[in-house]
Symmetry: C2
């Protein structure tokens, strides 16, 4: 069992969000934002449902967390997301000045590292690979079913 408040613990919460996306036939990416060990935002990819490419899990989570904190800046927060953010989401994270980003699976095609590692804010510490295999497997399973 994950210890409480570990990165794995919060990534499991993000994975739960990703599973909701899966059930709704969205590419299964989920995110949570944590502030002082409390989850203040939960979101999953809704691009299909909302017919809106900007409705990535991270973007919804940023807006939700800002709303909760009544602050544009998320300087004391950590984003947990099951997949490496794309350029849009990494670019958004820059503006939030979020303290940490923890992601699960790398995205070798659309992850922001394919463009530049300098996309996040200089103050943002980025960690990858937490529950990587579970995060990646959920996405692989999604596309396997799509292909059938």
């Amino acid at each position: 069992m994950d210890s409480v408040f570990s990165d794995e613990y919060f990534m499991r919460a993000a994975l739960n969000e990703a599973r909701r996306a899966f059930e709704e036939e969205e590419i299964p990416v989920g995110a949570v934002i944590v502030c002082k060990n409390q989850i203040i935002a939960r979101a999953y990819n809704m691009t299909q449902k909302l017919n809106d490419v900007t409705a990535h899990a991270e973007m919804i989570a940023f807006t939700s967390a800002s709303n909760y904190l009544n602050s544009k800046y998320l300087t004391d927060c950590t984003l947990y997301v099951t997949l490496e953010p794309c350029n849009m989401c990494a670019g958004a994270s820059f503006w939030t000045q979020i303290s940490r980003i923890v992601y699960g699976a790398s995205d070798e095609k659309r992850g922001y590292h394919q463009t530049s590692e300098y996309m996040t804010h200089p103050k943002t510490v980025v960690q990858k690979g937490v529950l990587e295999e579970e995060c990646a497997e959920l996405i692989r399973e999604f596309f396997r079913r799509k292909r059938v």
Copy 2:
């Protein structure tokens, strides 16, 4: 007078949006999205009002245009925006596969070209410098007043 349906004509519509931002004490950036010579979305920067860093003019315009067209993709559309898009907005434009982006002033600090010119979709044609001076002057005037 601008000829109807010229880039200058539509950039003036984007400038009108930027002026609304100015009046509401937002950094004055405005955008419109045009499809078949018709403006289908108008937006201006609302980051202060909404307390949300994702509320850039372009992002709001993408969502609005997708809603209007009932399509995630904006393949027959042109975005007119008074300032060079940031990484977030250029990254969002990638997902929309928008046909063209026309911007006014360059952003030497936060424009996406500072990170990479390969941020937009390969199908997207980008043109800069339309009504550049008017677009830039509005932003300069905003910051001059802020400093007083």
